[in-house]
């Protein structure tokens, strides 16, 4: 008797509906088609409505002169530059405040998180108050508060504070001497990257030596010394190719050196302090997630507390900390769009604000802003996801 193989039962169209797996697949395909049709309908409706209203569309305005000035510009820009260049200035400003904010927020957040776990009652209560206050006040209010404090308490440029020679603090900003770089400075940059390469190689070599012979090199100290000393030596060998530009009060404001504007300072500090409160809670959760048995076992093996933290606790804690930390970095980047409230010209203020208003191209400008934020956020996300995959637990 030949048995009919169940996998080769005759195919019937009704199988598409009765068989659970095919039914699921069919419904998903139909839903996808309907969704795409809906999106196409919306897009088509928008385009035809715009044509009906006679609104101009197109990105041609990006090459026209913008006719407005920007106060903080990392690259050359004046009112004759195009809207496209204004957008680039905005993107650079956003990235500067995002990177600076992430760095400061991480430092503050990790410190606060560890301090919260301290045995000292006063310190842990103080950090608790800081976290609860900062987390529960909207970030826009905090930005305005910082800006108000800086602008109202610092003196006018003519009565600026001078904490050190050549450093001025006034309500127009923080003026510091800034090095003017000559072409020979490239030697220092090359030396810096060479030192980093050397440090990476040395870390790998030290690990190999430790695996083979058990000898431990002080990798961190040596690498740090290398990264700092090699560029410095290269700097002096190249004949000190940099001169300091000193700020001086001429007329209304300080000229020369680097002036960090109060808008940037207010935004940076407000965002960092706000995000640090969230990060401190994440860090605390991560450290507490590592079971105490790990610490005890580590001590029982004779590993010093310092090394226990570095080799046993932190790697496990970081596994718990990294995913929410990514979210907080993304939040910080997106919260920097509140910059226009204090007059800091980030991407939303230039292309999504002034350019939008002067040219009237709301949809095009907003699509650019959307695309920029999506790119920045997805990049941060992918970097951290790569790190996350690397430290993920591999189940046997």
């Amino acid at each position: 008797m030949t048995a009919i193989d169940i996998d080769q039962a005759p195919f019937k169209v009704s199988n598409l509906w009765t068989d659970q797996k095919s039914r699921g697949l069919l419904i998903q395909i139909v839903s996808l088609i309907l969704l795409l049709l809906f999106i196409a309908y919306i897009a088509n409706n928008t385009m035809s409505n715009l044509k009906l209203l006679g609104v101009e569309t197109g990105y041609g305005f990006l090459s026209e002169p913008s006719n407005y000035d920007i106060n903080q510009r990392p690259i050359e820009y004046d009112s004759r530059s195009s809207h496209g260049r204004a957008a680039v200035v905005g993107i650079l400003n956003t990235m500067i405040v995002a990177v600076c904010g992430i760095v400061l927020a991480t430092l503050l957040g990790f410190t606060a998180g560890v301090l919260r776990l301290s045995g000292n009652w006063l310190i842990s209560r103080l950090v608790y108050c800081y976290v609860e206050f900062t987390r529960n006040v909207p970030v826009l209010l905090q930005i305005l508060l910082w800006h108000g404090i800086i602008v109202h308490t610092l003196p006018l440029p003519r009565q600026a504070l001078q904490p050190a020679d050549g450093v001025f603090l006034s309500n127009r900003g923080f003026a510091i001497p800034w090095p003017q770089l000559e072409p020979a400075f490239w030697a220092v940059v090359v030396a810096f990257f060479a030192a980093i390469g050397g440090a990476v190689w040395f870390a790998g070599y030290a690990k190999k030596v430790q695996a083979e012979t058990g000898k431990i090199y002080p990798v961190i100290t040596i690498n740090l010394a290398m990264i700092v000393l090699v560029p410095v030596v290269a700097f002096f060998l190249a004949g000190q190719p940099a001169t300091l530009d000193w700020p001086a009060l001429t007329g209304f404001n300080f000229k020369g050196g680097l002036t960090v504007k109060p808008e940037f300072i207010a935004l940076w500090f407000a965002l960092s302090v706000y995000t640090a409160a969230f990060i401190s809670e994440i860090v605390r959760a991560g450290i507490m997630a590592v079971s105490h048995g790990q610490t005890e076992a580590s001590y029982a093996l004779g590993i010093r507390p310092n090394w226990t933290m570095r080799l046993v606790i932190l790697p496990q804690a970081l596994r718990v900390i990294i995913p929410p930390l990514i979210s907080q970095y993304l939040n910080l980047t997106k919260n920097s769009s509140l910059a226009i409230a204090v007059g800091y010209m980030d991407i939303v203020a230039t292309i999504g604000g002034i350019s939008l208003n002067q040219t009237g191209r709301a949809l095009e400008c907003m699509s650019i802003v959307l695309a920029i934020y999506l790119t920045i956020s997805l990049s941060i996300s992918s970097v951290m996801n790569w790190y996350n995959k690397r430290v993920a637990l591999v189940e046997r």
């Binding site: 209203l53 006679g54 609104v55 602008v151 007329g251 208003n357 709301a362």
Partner: protein, 338 residues
């Protein structure tokens, strides 16, 4: 099945909303009130009184339009708008007209597809500095920090002026007049620049107005007027002639106190046409024939509104200057009502 129904409903809703573009006068009548876009607050030109009602030189135009349509100047709802949101609010239909000391320019007319219905204040851009700075001319402002409202013609004029005079400046962008006032008084910026009328209005609100001086240079023409959307000529005519009638009323000596009486006793043919005792001109634009009587009677003519909110008797203290009638040395000139 349910999904298709939702799709059909969405399609119906979008087509209905696009059809509501023309016929603003009918929409306003159906709603029962006029939606008026104003600024977030400029002393004299647009402000809220102690009861929270919007008053001022610009809201008065909206009140005159409401009086012309409904016979009641209080049938207006106000939407405060910033320099950034004002045009979107008008274009999207959120407001019916914008009375927000907005400069009439080519690109706003043609590119943004908006219609300016006239000028209710001829102005120019100026600079205000604290007396303590010791500056007497705008040409001495090289390197200064300037508070500037984003998304305005003021911003563009400022860039042009400083560039053509080879001067550099640090722009301090702000969104509203209140923010500008705060930053200027705290010393964050040395100079505040906006229309000269706005400067006078802001200075009037300072504790020590005499410690601040308006520099003599007026660097641009700023004809300020109300505006409506493209594509609805009847509505534009209504708003335009409400403003024109306010000016003609001053010429002919009609004001809120004597309008009722003049409509019965006057012999002047133009007065009789305006106040509706002769002919039915209101019908040509979709209003009642005594629409101007109601509008002038409740709100007043141009000089009454001017003197009430920004004239020399108020803290703002603006002279008529360019805004006097053409027969009094100014350039205020409305077409005849016939």
């Amino acid at each position: 099945m349910k999904f298709t129904k939702v799709l059909l409903a969405a399609a119906a809703a979008t087509t209905l909303s696009t059809a509501a573009m023309a016929g603003t006068l009918d929409d306003v009548r159906k709603k029962g009130f006029l939606q008026c876009g104003v600024s977030t607050g400029v002393a004299g030109f647009a402000f809220t009184d102690d009861q929270g009602n919007w008053q001022g030189f610009d809201p008065a135009v909206c009140q005159a339009v409401a009086a012309a349509i409904f016979g009641d100047k209080s049938k207006v709802k106000y939407t405060p708008t910033t320099g950034k949101t004002r045009f979107e609010a008008l274009k999207s239909g959120e407001i019916d007209m914008l009375a927000r000391n907005t400069t009439w320019t080519f690109s706003r007319d043609a590119d943004l597809k908006l219609t300016f219905i006239g000028v209710n204040y001829y102005d120019g851009q100026g600079f205000m500095v604290p007396k303590g700075l010791g500056v007497s001319s705008a040409k001495e402002l090289d390197g200064a920090s300037v508070c500037i409202q984003t998304g305005t013609t003021t911003e563009l004029n400022l860039a042009d002026y400083f560039r053509s005079n080879n001067m550099k400046y640090e722009p301090v962008p702000i969104e509203t007049n209140a923010e500008a006032r705060q930053n200027y008084l705290a010393g964050r910026c040395d100079v505040y620049t906006t229309d000269a009328s706005g400067l006078a209005a802001t200075r009037a609100t300072f504790e020590k107005p005499n410690d601040h001086v308006l520099l003599p240079e007026i660097i641009s023409k700023e004809p300020l007027g109300p505006l409506v959307r493209h594509g609805d000529d009847q509505w534009a005519d209504v708003v335009r002639w409400v403003l024109n009638v306010m000016i003609i009323a001053e010429e002919l000596g009609i004001n809120s106190k004597n309008a009722e009486q003049l409509s019965k006793t006057s012999d002047n043919p133009e007065v009789k046409r305006i106040l509706g005792t002769e002919g039915n001109y209101g019908e040509m634009v979709g209003l009642r024939k005594d629409w101007a009587l109601r509008s002038i009677g409740q709100v007043g003519n141009y000089s009454e509104v001017y003197e009430r909110f920004i004239g020399t008797a108020t803290p703002i203290g603006l002279e008529r200057g360019l805004n006097a009638l053409w027969t009094d040395g100014g350039i205020l000139y409305a077409p005849p009502y016939r």
